[in-house]
């Protein structure tokens, strides 16, 4: 019995090591989607320059499956996913709405979209993170999949890659459309 006690530190260390190994697979910054299965938060955003006719509000999401993409002209990773969003738009696969987040200069977002292409159906301006905080966003880009009844079905953190699209988003979109 007493001899066994001397093995306790070893056992403790092994357990700790197991947790650390597991820890390598986890991302401490990736927060869970608190809105999963819930209504999108209420928001009503002003238009960005150059799209002065219409802003973007939560009511616009009613009636169709859509993606809500939080982006900013300052965000490097957004430029990574941008060509892919353009491709989705060109093939008319699903409407993508944009929330232009935290632009220091109100011209920067519109300027970027004008230069590199605009994949968004509707865009709202969110300079003070009102909508971003309501969605529980920590960084750009983040993308929310919203169904026709404005219920949030999925959150993707980071750029949308072809793999993410093929394996997760597109199957989910098709499934939601069937319902």
């Amino acid at each position: 019995m007493r001899r066994l006690m001397y093995f306790l530190p070893l056992v403790g260390l092994l357990i700790l090591g197991g947790f650390f190994l597991k820890g390598f697979e986890l991302n401490p910054r990736e927060l869970p989607n608190m809105l999963q299965g819930k209504q999108v938060p209420d928001f009503d955003l002003k238009p960005i320059k150059g799209r002065d006719d219409k802003g973007f509000s939560s009511k616009d999401l009613q009636g169709d499956v859509s993606l809500v993409n939080i982006f900013g002209s300052w965000c490097v990773a957004c430029q990574v996913e941008h060509p892919f969003l353009m491709a989705v738009k060109e093939r008319n696969l699903v409407p993508i709405h944009g929330i232009d987040w935290r632009e220091q200069d109100p011209d920067a977002g519109p300027e970027w979209l004008r230069k590199s292409g605009d994949p968004y159906t509707l865009v709202g301006d969110d300079p003070l993170s009102k909508a971003a905080i309501a969605f529980g966003v920590t960084g750009a880009p983040e993308t929310f999949l919203v169904d026709a009844d404005t219920v949030v079905r999925y959150k993707h953190i980071g750029p949308i890659t072809p793999e993410v699209w093929k394996e997760t988003l597109w199957p989910l979109i098709q499934e939601l459309r069937k319902q």
Binding site: N27, R29, L31, S129, I133, T138, G139
Partner: protein
């Protein structure tokens, strides 16, 4: 690797300098004090282990402004905290709530102290038993000194004396 890169890119927004700006502060000192209290309890979600009160990350600033707007609109401190938790989860609270997933955290220290006390008590009792049984006692080393070591020891003692 890709996720790491993204994490790094997303992390670049954090700067550990100057936090609350005078322009954000509420006119009413009582409400401002409440806003500070709430801000200190909320974690800046992009800068790891800083409260939004301490951080000048932009998101932290926007959260501070939101906290103040909600307090102005008549929310209680708890309601503001609840709102933030409904968006970011328990992660946003620097003081984790006491609930199923955190019992081990909050009661763990009691268990650790308890185990320590039990171990020490067991140590004393075992030693007492050993004495009662005539063992234990005061023998020192498990290996006695060799002749060679005795000589070295004697030499050292002389060294120390002189």
């Amino acid at each position: 690797m890709k996720t790491l890169l993204v994490t790094l890119l997303m992390a670049l927004t954090a700067l550990p300098v100057l936090a609350v700006e005078p322009s954000e502060m509420l006119k009413d000192p009582a409400k401002e004090a409440r806003a500070r209290e709430v801000s200190i309890a909320l974690r800046c979600v992009v800068c790891q282990n800083q409260s939004i009160d301490d951080s000048n990350a932009q998101l932290a600033r926007d959260m501070r402004i939101l906290v103040r707007e909600r307090i102005e609109a008549g929310d209680s401190n708890q309601e503001v905290l609840d709102y933030m938790v409904s968006r970011y989860g328990d992660f946003v609270l620097l003081e984790p709530p006491v609930k199923g997933t955190t019992y081990a955290l909050w009661f763990g220290p009691l268990v650790i102290v308890g185990l320590g006390v039990v171990a020490v008590v067991a140590f004393y009792r075992r030693r007492l038993r050993a004495v009662a049984a005539g063992g234990g006692g005061t023998q020192a080393a498990s290996v006695p000194l060799s002749d060679d070591e005795e000589k070295r020891l004697a030499a050292l003692m002389e060294d120390a004396e002189s």
